[in-house]
């Protein structure tokens, strides 16, 4: 028995010994990869490194990420801007970015928050979980915001290197340097033309049913209060949606009035562009809910103009 125990310990020893240094090396190298995890790492890096340094920040999902170009806003308003839109995630993880921004960066003066029918939906899967890999080891904030999802286990947060199990692409991305940055100030315009995503979605169902997450609404309410307390102006923006797609979303009107009621309650500006003429033209979209680069430029110019009218 002694021999067996000794042999097992000897066999496992190098793995235990190497786990932490490997974690450190792979995580640090991975952070330097500008395009891994759809480019989200560059945004997390900027957040943790405290290099955001912008008066205007943009929050939201992919509809913020690909719709609002910070450079156009900078040109119009004369104030530095950064896009913190996070692809595939609702307000819960958008709030995580807000928390880290406030902790490690200069406080912004204005937050442009892109809201839509999916902002407050229940989400179970941790979409694009790879983006958290270099940061989650003993990170209380990320653990708090991601542990309720199906993505990481309790061991991933507390045992070194375990979270890289089965993530061959992440290790490969760490080892093969790729300094190409997908994002520009967090923004990623899409040079795409209309595809058949919408057609496929329509063929599969008559409408998309949305289930609201009540906890998320409470968090949103608290966020608006916090911003008021911290003297940060929040501008709620409903960015353009292709008109046909709007009919496809169940509970859309209910959610739009809910956003309206939040704006009224907290006395924040709410700009709804979902009835704008841009929503009638397919050439500005690549699918029903996302503008292409051409549409994003046109829309950001409209938004910037309105921001200037509002007095920055």
């Amino acid at each position: 028995m002694k021999k067996f125990t000794r042999q097992v310990i000897l066999f496992l020893f190098p793995m235990v010994l190497l786990a932490y240094p490997l974690d450190l090396i792979v995580s640090n190298l991975l952070k330097k990869n500008g395009s891994f995890a759809h480019g989200e790492l560059s945004v997390w890096n900027a957040l943790y490194d405290g290099t955001i340094d912008s008066e205007i920040v943009i929050y939201g999902s992919s509809r913020a990420l690909v719709h609002i170009d910070p450079e156009i806003i900078e040109t119009s308003t004369g104030r530095k801007a950064y896009n913190l839109g996070i692809d595939g995630h609702n307000f819960w993880l958008q709030h995580l970015r807000h928390t880290i921004l406030m902790k490690h960066n200069k406080k912004p003066k204005t937050i442009i928050l892109s809201v839509d029918v999916r902002s407050f939906i229940k989400q179970k899967e941790l979409y694009n979980s790879d983006q958290f890999l270099p940061y989650i080891f003993f990170n209380k904030e990320i653990k708090y915001y991601t542990e309720s999802y199906k993505g990481f286990t309790v061991y991933d947060y507390h045992l070194p290197f375990i979270r890289y199990f089965g993530r061959f692409q992440a290790i490969k991305a760490a080892l093969l340097k790729n300094s190409y940055l997908k994002r520009r100030n967090g923004y990623e315009g899409q040079d795409k033309v209309w595809n058949d995503d919408f057609k496929k979605a329509k063929a599969n169902a008559n409408s998309i049913e949305i289930e609201l997450d009540k906890e998320l609404l409470v968090l949103f309410d608290g966020f608006l209060l916090d911003c008021k307390r911290d003297d940060i102006r929040v501008v709620l923006v409903y960015t353009p949606e292709y008109i046909e797609g709007q009919k496809f979303m169940g509970k859309r009107n209910e959610i739009v009035s809910l956003i309206d009621s939040f704006a009224l309650k907290h006395n924040v500006v709410y700009l709804d562009y979902s009835k704008d003429d841009i929503c009638l033209e397919k050439k500005y979209f690549y699918n029903a809910s996302h503008l292409n680069k051409l549409g994003a430029e046109k829309f950001t110019k409209m938004l910037s103009k309105d921001l200037v009218l509002l007095g920055n």
């Binding site: 067996f4 199990f165 089965g166």
Partner: protein, 477 residues
Amino acid sequence: MLFNSIDFALFLPIVFILYWFVFNRNIKLQNLLIVIASYVFYGSWDWRFLLLILFSTFVDYLVGIALEKEETLKKRRLLLWISIFVNLGFLGFFKYYNFFLDNFTNVFSFFGHKIDASSLSIILPVGISFYTFQTLSYTIDVYRKKMKPTKDFVAFAAFVSFFPQLVAGPIERATNLLPQFVKKREFDYNKACDGLRQILWGLFKKIVIADNCAKYANIIFNNSEVYSGSTLVLGSLFFAFQIYGDYSGYSDIAIGTSRLFGFNLQKNFAFPYFSRNIGEFWRRWHISLSTWFRDYLYIPLGGSKVGKVRVVRNIFVIFIVSGFWHGANWNFIIWGALNALYFLPLLFRSKNRKYMDVVAINSNLPSFKELIQMAMTFGFTLVAWIFFRSDTVSQAIQILSEIFSMSLFGMPSFKKPIIIWVLIFMFIEWVGRDSEYAIEKLGKNWHESLRWGFYYIIVISIFLMGSEGEEFIYFQF
């Protein structure tokens, strides 16, 4: 709790330490620990399943004791039927209720009678098909006076619920496993090392081969209507290696884990894809289930020692029941029937037991004839796997008609590195084909550092290629 999870990686050493360091002087305490550990393991899926297994254990324990006391044949038969009724009753209700209900209503509505019967939303308890057959083997063997019943309830409960093989086999015979629970177990260094090696190889099969093949098999089967014949063949190949890697991998982990605790389980897979005919394939594939059906169904029905018509019936019965055991679905039934059709010509030409040895035992490579035989046998099983994997019979027919069309001769639209892994895997399996499991003897004569290097490569490939928490296919059966 899955074998391929960190939970199990923590659970196993805890039970191992308690078993050999704390309770090693008392066999009863060791058995009690196994029962508790097994119930924790099983309850981690759903604690309600424990009530079922506990009830089944009580019934069969009491039936066993009553059978020993009872001498009259009539009463003994009644006791046996009680056990069969309870065990198959649970299995029938949880696994087949909705299937029979749907088919009855379909038949009645075909004849113009509408029946208002709504199906129930039933959760299938994990492993019920496995432990039901295991406990049935006990009562049948006691009834046949092949073994004496045990009076040690804890040992019996440990036999029924033994966690390494509880949820997906091998389906152990009471005559093999139960006596091991009443005999003192001594720690054996070589046996334990062998157990660890087999666990490692099982994890490789499951995580590297099965789970990665599954990704592509699922894509191809879920969109079968858009793929060409050649891609569908590739999809079927992926599935063939998925199911083999998955289930034989599970069996290896189960057998290896048991060895750590001093138990010997029966071999469940013996390199089936190197079979030279279907008869050999069925002696090498899911051996514990095939032999269960042979001993408790085929032979009682008369086996092959009856007239030709009855032999045909018996063969169809065991293969169809075997298919139905896998699930309440017409696809499984057709899969079973197809295998019966493959098997019958061999039986009538008395060639079903022709290949009892290991292929190319004295050479490194198979002869041309053996190669053709293996390829043909594999081809036949591949056609049957298409029925097994498809969602409906019509999907299987659609896939087969596409495969047997001109599109078979185009290039498949999938070129994935997993094919290289499968080839490496099959090479290692070929090298180790005369062993209990492929890497049993591989590297035994190498220098320790070289051997450990080989094991580290396996560990690293598991780490890189894996995805935690992928379920085993056989859990659903």
